[in-house]
Amino acid sequence: MRSTMPQPRPVGWRGIDLLQLILSALAVAAMTVSMWAALYYAPPASNLAGDEQLAQRIFYIHMGCNIGALAGFLMSVIGSLVYLIKRDLDWDRVSQAAIEVGLICGMGTILTGMFWAKPTWNTYWTWDPRLTTSAITVLVYLAYLLFRNGIDNRHTRARFASIYALVAFLSVPLTFYSARIFRSIHPVVYGAENVDAQGGFSVGPTMTQALHINLIGFCILFSALLVLRWRQLRNEDAVAELREEIA
């Protein structure tokens, strides 16, 4: 991976990091289209009015963030498992990058959900299973990052973090089921109907399109952030290795 003679970075237009440029441009474009779809293209919900009508548009961004968080946490499990099997630090970096990006998306999900819930449910927070699970999941992965930072040896850190990521991920469905037995008021837009749900609306064809645009847009954003962060972590480790060599 490293040559003994560090190559000087090319200057001028050759110095442009093409991958980074393309990924960033893609992410910006995807987000622009997503916001256009969520705020302009999607029609208003037919059964809502006032603040609720305005707030329902956050749903597209909420779902987008949610898909990013889900992708991040799933990716971290894959990264951890492959690391424990292959012992290749690149996979540990995948797991760390995925969790960092997933955490941002998860916090985005919670924040957008809270802004939507205030006009709709008249409260920022309730102990609905989905809310409980999302909050606990974010805490679990924050703990993951704190835990990583406390371990000095690079390989020990990767191994311990992978073990924790696997155990932590397994607890998420159980958290959801244990919280689910309490009554839920979260609307279920896809899948089973929740008779106690408040503030839901049925999704028409244009809304579905807007939603799909947002899901794809956030997937692109997620991939861009993941790849860039992964490369950054890789470079960080390379620098740390060089430092050790000098010392």
Binding site: L84, T132, I136, L139, V140, A143, L146, F147, G150, I151, H155, T156, R159, F160, I163, Y164, L166, V167, A168, L170, S171, L174, T175, Y177, S178, A179, I181
Partner: protein, 257 residues
């Protein structure tokens, strides 16, 4: 492998009786279930004996738990009309927080005294160390839980010594120390051991906490088995899943030690 090899009689596994003392590897792997249980018991008895001589863990846990119940009692006495309303939450919060103290010492004491390498050198499968430590933690935490129940009996005037509640505490604490022992081993060598363990452990414990509080509340409300059974199901599933996972992952922790 040709046909010959398949049809041929398998060679005897041990042609000569193995001198166990001279073959630590064989001793680590052979012996069947009973020998394995013996090794687990050895680790467990070592911890219990150390505790009986040092009186380090149980006394700390008991003191903290009594203190915590008293503080909760004082804090809620001002605002809550009936103790039944808060007792389930107090019980499980105190059990979880007290448990962290014992779990921290479980491997922390080994690291502090420098006995961890000798423990790891023992010619047993690493999972035997896990199960031995887990059972020791189970005993300490359950003993503390009984003290907590007794203190709550007097402070809140509530009798929580009821069969369903005791079963819930047993299942909950098994799951708790099952994950807790694994995490205690993970954090044993890190710099901020005492602060890190609760941050790692408590979010993962939410299913146990929620089911435990629901079960204790259900018992206090005099609910029937049909209403409680699904919570017991969650606790049992948690215990089964996480003990198996911890058993599988525990080997990886000290593979370079």
């Amino acid at each position: 492998m040709g046909k010959k090899a398949l049809s041929a009689e398998p060679p005897p596994l041990h042609s000569a009786p193995i001198d166990l003392a001279a073959h630590p590897i064989a001793m680590r792997l052979n012996g069947g279930v009973l020998a394995y249980l013996g090794k687990v018991a050895a680790v467990l008895l070592k911890d219990v004996r150390a505790e009986l001589r040092g009186r380090e863990i149980f006394s700390t846990m008991t003191a903290f738990s009594v203190l915590a119940v008293l503080i909760f009692g004082m804090a809620f006495d001002l605002r809550v009309p009936r103790a039944e309303m808060i007792a389930p939450g107090v019980l499980w919060v105190v059990v979880l927080f007290t448990g962290v103290l014992g779990l921290n010492r479980s491997f922390g004491a080994e690291v502090d005294r420098g006995t961890l390498p000798s423990l790891l050198l023992a010619p047993v499968d690493r999972s035997a160390i896990y199960f031995g430590k887990m059972l020791a933690n189970l005993i300490f935490t359950l003993a503390t839980a009984l003290v907590i129940l007794a203190v709550m009996f007097f402070i809140f005037d509530l009798n929580l010594f009821q069969p369903y509640n005791l079963a819930a505490m047993l299942l909950g604490v098994i799951g708790y120390v099952g994950v807790g022992t694994l995490f205690a081993a993970l954090t044993a060598n890190s710099r901020a051991r005492e602060t890190l363990l609760p941050i790692l452990l408590l979010p993962v414990m939410v299913p146990v906490f929620v089911s435990g509080v629901a079960l204790t509340a259900g018992v206090l409300d005099g609910k029937a088995w049909e209403d409680l059974s699904q919570w017991f199901g969650i606790l049992a599933a948690f215990d089964a899943i996480f003990i198996v996972v911890a058993y599988l992952l525990f080997d990886l922790i000290w593979e370079d030690a």
